[in-house]
């Protein structure tokens, strides 16, 4: 009995590959950065430690760690089997706020239990990933037919539509964004991915004649180069052209409040003090950090509240201001390392489902980081996505830790 226990412990430690250890260290360091930045951002807040966001974040961190540990010990088979059921359950929870009518700041994102609230759309990110992975695991990578591409697309588009309605552009981008690396990993043809993404670009470019004109030329070139069947090419061309031409008319036929509703999606009006205030202050904070930064809790932009949303979506600018270029470089390299390790694990994985899950995890974390950082440095419009492991927010931290738990679980190449 005693021998078997020590053997198990030994087995467990052995099963902990170097890569898994690296993931743990990376996540630990990122959380440390996060706690320091949240501490800094919450210095001027009143209340006792656990009333402050720093205290609450710490509680969430402990809870998330426990959940991640639980996930780590789950049977892979169980995860695989319950993927669709969880997806359906998650989808129902996603719809629930509409019926409960609970909303924060006019958006139906939260489900509240007493004083605590959580966002089902956060956890749905994992469930969409699992469902897509499960579906693609049943296909063969050698020749992925278009119909096998279509179903994962629907799996992501349906919850995406619900989340867009909330409105939460950031989260819907995650649902849609993770689709492409996963399809690509599963062996989808690039042309098929192009067919999925083309209509969206057609709609976006249609608002300006010249951008649309350039886009159409690009579509034609791509269709010519891929040498698809004429029937397919014509259909793709026709769909995109008709979308492009009807969009402006559809837009103009919308009532102003409907247009407004769509515009709020892109957070055009989420700007409290005039166009670009947030981004400008964020750029000032990051830029003024210089090479070495101003030091822990010494960022003037942060302390004097010039930065709105400094503890959530704009936490990266706190790091930029207080730790400088060195600090942000370390953070970005940690994230990149995390992503590359995930891709590496996925490559080594013998099981297709696990491999696809790893790519899904890498994509979710990667897209969050890229969009969040690009937004804080003024490269992308403000969409409202937090920075994994660092931003304040319970549901999101939990989501990230579940992903880490999954990654560690799958990282061990054990049998189902």
């Amino acid at each position: 009995m005693r021998r078997s226990i020590s053997k198990r412990i030994n087995n467990f430690l052995n099963s902990f590959s170097n890569l898994n250890l690296a993931i743990l260290v990376i996540v630990g360091l990122l959380c440390l950065f996060g706690m320091l930045s949240i501490y800094s951002a919450s210095l001027n807040m009143e209340g006792s430690f656990f009333e402050k966001i720093i205290g609450r974040q710490l509680i969430w961190l402990v809870l998330s760690g426990l959940v991640a540990a639980t996930i780590y010990f789950l049977q892979k088979k169980l995860i695989y089997d319950s993927a669709y059921i969880l997806y359906l359950l998650g989808f129902c929870l996603l719809l629930l706020p509409y019926f409960l009518g609970s909303s924060v700041a006019g958006t139906a994102r939260w489900i509240t239990f007493g004083s605590a609230g959580f966002q089902p759309s956060e956890f749905m990110k994992i469930l969409v990933m699992l469902a897509i992975a499960r579906f693609l695991a049943s296909t063969s990578s050698s020749n992925l037919d278009f119909k096998f591409v279509l179903i994962p697309t629907l799996l992501s588009l349906i919850p995406m539509a619900v989340v867009l309605k909330q409105p939460d552009l950031g989260t819907s981008i995650i649902y849609f964004g993770m689709l492409f690396p996963m399809l690509y990993w599963a062996g989808a043809r690039l042309f098929h991915l192009f067919i999925i993404i083309a209509p969206i670009l057609s709609i976006i470019t249609a608002f300006n004649f010249y951008t649309f004109f350039i886009w159409v030329i690009i579509v034609v070139i791509i269709l010519y180069l891929t040498k698809e069947k004429l029937r397919v090419s014509l259909t793709v061309m026709l769909i995109n052209l008709s979308l492009g031409f009807t969009t402006p008319f559809l837009w103009n036929s919308l009532k102003p409040y409907q247009q407004q509703r769509i515009l709020t999606l892109f957070n055009v009006n989420a700007d409290p003090q005039g166009t670009g205030y947030q981004v400008l202050q964020s750029k000032i904070a990051i830029g003024s950090g210089g090479l070495f930064g101003k030091g822990i809790a010494r960022g003037t932009q942060t302390h004097l509240k010039f930065l709105p949303e400094q503890h959530t979506d704009f936490i990266f600018s706190v790091i930029g201001e207080e730790y400088g270029f060195i600090g942000v470089l370390v953070v970005l390299l940690l994230f990149l390392a995390f992503i590359l390790i995930c891709i590496n694990i996925a490559y080594r994985q013998k099981d297709r489902f696990c491999s696809l899950c790893m790519i899904g995890i890498a994509s979710i974390i990667g897209i969050h980081v890229v969009i969040n950082v690009a937004m804080t440095v003024g490269l992308m419009p403000v969409t409202g996505l937090p920075l994994p492991f660092i931003s304040y927010g319970g549901s999101f931290l939990m989501t990230c830790f579940i992903l880490v738990g999954l990654a560690l679980n799958i990282g061990i190449d054990k049998q189902y």
Partner: protein, 601 residues
């Protein structure tokens, strides 16, 4: 057991890896641009974001008289401000505040609304309130949260002296001055001396503004002092001393109350102006804070021109005082002998025109000496016909008539000293006759002088030709080096007038006072020398002139008194001059008594 086998190709893995690396490189590149390349400029912006610079006005330099008595001081002006964030806008607080300030509730609300610059930025709702209001506000401290007062230094005039036009006033800099190179360090809204001493010595009197650096947050809320930057305290302006004798100044002002007059009293040897009065004047304290529109409009629309400095800016015909120029010309060019006589029948006929003497029954036989003492016009009508007009004009120019005296008061007039060229230009070469000369010789017609020019002329007579630059400013104490810096006044003199001529004129001027037209200026125990003048003018009664000087305790004091519409120089003007001389005499007597007192006891 595996669900299905993973068969990913190496290429797909590498492409995905490269994709993520590239995207991250773009982000890192952007951060490099923001933090390393643009870092310094963003540092500056962040700094400006957090620091609010609060200017602290410096008091201007205190102005003393020659004996160290305060002429212009500074006092604190209290303004009432409201900080919107802390101010509770209830009917109760509104009515308390309105009652204390004596304003409508609606007026207060509209001032708050119109000057709103943020939740935490104080709004001025009342300006220059008295101390009682401040005490009242302090008593209601608990009822009026967010109502605070601020203090700034403004001018005050504790002695009650007016001297308004010569002291000048302080006001916000004008748009015209703002663009001038001289005032390039001034910003809109800065205070600057506008007239008189305040303008002339702006660079000496001006204090250096101080700054407090307050840390603010994004809402403009004050967090406290900026840690790494010290406040810069304001530096008051330099203390300045004027040549003015404050007692004399106040005495003359009280003496001339109700008249329209311009009076200059100066030390004949060095040009120090002991008193300079222009009546009517105004209370300089009107400008102490921000002058109200109604006061300003009343001042500038007053037909008696209280803001006009009659002593330096007013130009008048000098009247008979100017006969001395003709005497000097005649004696120096030897055109006539002093004994050359003329019989005065009270009038003089030139062609069809009759020129009158002021004494209608005539003075009888007049030589030059008596003509001065009795101010006989007919004598001078005859005299000028024997003089070359340009000789006469040059004598006037030698005494610097027709050009500014250089007095240190902004906006001085130069007056007019006509000569042949001038008359030719004005009337055409044949457009003027000896009639013009007759007018000019008795100080009428085209000739115009200012009281300060006449005072200098008088000083030159008193000192046998010293031409001083009259000046009010004496010295200042440089705040940096603590050195006393004395202003230099230009000096000149007329050399070519013989001692005989001077003696002749001095005797005549003494007799003007003793038994002539200037008897009203006589002072017991002290010899006074002078000359009266009565300048006809088309607007009413003649202007009264008196120039004269006295010498006591090695000081020669010259004065020029002009009283608009004072009827005759021998009357009111000489009287005022006499009182001035008497005052100075009494002052000196007291002083010497005080100096000798210890010896007597």
């Amino acid at each position: 057991m595996y669900i299905s086998h993973n068969s990913i190709t190496n290429i797909r893995k590498n492409i995905l890896t490269i994709f993520f690396v590239l995207v991250f490189l773009v982000l890192i590149g952007r951060l490099y641009y923001l933090q390393i390349i643009k870092g310094p400029s963003y540092k500056g912006i962040a700094e400006a974001n957090r620091v609010r610079v609060i200017p602290i006005e410096a008091p201007r330099g205190i102005i003393y008289d020659r004996n160290g008595k305060i002429i212009v001081d500074n006092k604190s002006q209290y303004d009432i401000n409201v900080i919107p964030y802390e101010f509770s806008h209830t009917a109760r607080t509104d009515s308390i505040l309105a009652k204390i300030l004596g304003l409508d509730v609606a007026e207060i609300n509209s001032r708050i609304k119109n000057n709103w610059r943020g939740q935490f930025v104080p709004i001025k709702i009342a300006e220059d309130v008295n101390v009682e209001i401040i005490t009242n506000i302090e008593e209601h401290r608990l009822d009026l949260p967010g109502v605070v007062y601020s203090v700034k230094p403004v001018r005050s005039y504790p002695s009650g002296v007016q001297m308004s036009q010569s002291l000048g006033y302080v006001r916000e800099i004008s748009a015209n001055d703002l663009i001038r190179e001289k005032y390039k360090e001034y910003k809109q809204g800065d205070l600057i001396g506008w007239k008189g001493i305040e303008r002339q010595y702006e660079h000496i009197l001006k204090g250096t503004r101080g700054y407090n650096f307050i840390q603010v947050d994004a809402l403009g809320r004050e967090i406290g002092q900026v840690v790494d930057r010290d406040n810069i305290p304001p530096i008051p302006g330099n203390e300045m001393f004027l040549a003015i004798d404050l007692d004399l100044q106040i005495y003359i002002e009280s003496l001339t109350e109700g008249y329209k007059a311009g009076i200059v009293v100066l030390d004949a040897d060095n040009g120090e102006i002991l008193a300079i009065v222009s009546k009517p004047d105004y209370d300089p304290a009107l400008f102490a804070g921000v002058i109200s529109n109604s006061s300003w409009n009343a001042l500038i629309s007053d037909p008696d021109l209280p803001m006009f400095n009659r002593a330096t800016q007013g130009t008048y015909s000098p009247g008979s005082t100017f006969k001395l120029i003709a005497v000097l010309t005649a004696l120096e060019t030897k055109a006539v002998d002093p004994d050359w006589s003329v019989r005065c029948y009270g009038q003089y006929r030139l062609g069809h025109r009759i020129f009158k003497c002021w004494q209608e029954r005539g003075h009888g036989s007049m030589n030059m000496y008596e003509a001065i003492v009795h101010s006989c016009n007919v004598y001078f009508y005859n005299l000028i016909r024997r003089l070359d007009l340009n000789d006469w004009a040059n004598m006037g120019k030698d005494f610097k008539f027709g050009s500014e005296t250089g007095v240190d008061l902004y906006g001085e007039s130069a007056g007019v000293m006509p000569d042949v060229d001038f008359l030719n230009r004005k009337y055409g070469e044949h457009g003027w006759t000896d009639g013009n000369k007759l007018n000019l010789v008795i100080g009428q017609g085209d000739i115009l002088v200012t009281p300060v020019q006449m005072a200098r002329f008088c000083a030159a007579l008193a000192t046998r030709g010293k031409l001083v630059q009259p000046h009010v400013g004496l010295k200042y104490i440089d705040r940096g080096s603590n050195e006393t810096i004395i202003f230099k006044a230009a000096k000149d003199s007329i050399q070519n007038i013989s001692v005989d001529t001077w003696e002749f004129i001095e005797k005549a001027m003494a007799d003007v006072i003793n038994r002539g037209t200037g008897r009203a200026a006589r002072v017991k125990d002290v010899p006074v020398l002078g000359k009266t003048g009565t300048a006809q003018n088309p607007h009413g009664d003649a202007h009264a002139w008196f120039i004269g000087y006295m010498e006591e305790q090695n000081q020669t004091i010259a004065t020029a008194v002009l009283v608009e519409h004072g009827k005759s120089g021998g009357g009111i003007a000489a009287q005022i001059a006499g009182q001035i001389f008497n005052f100075i005499h009494q002052q000196k007597k007291r002083q010497s008594l005080a100096n000798n007192a210890p010896l007597n006891f």
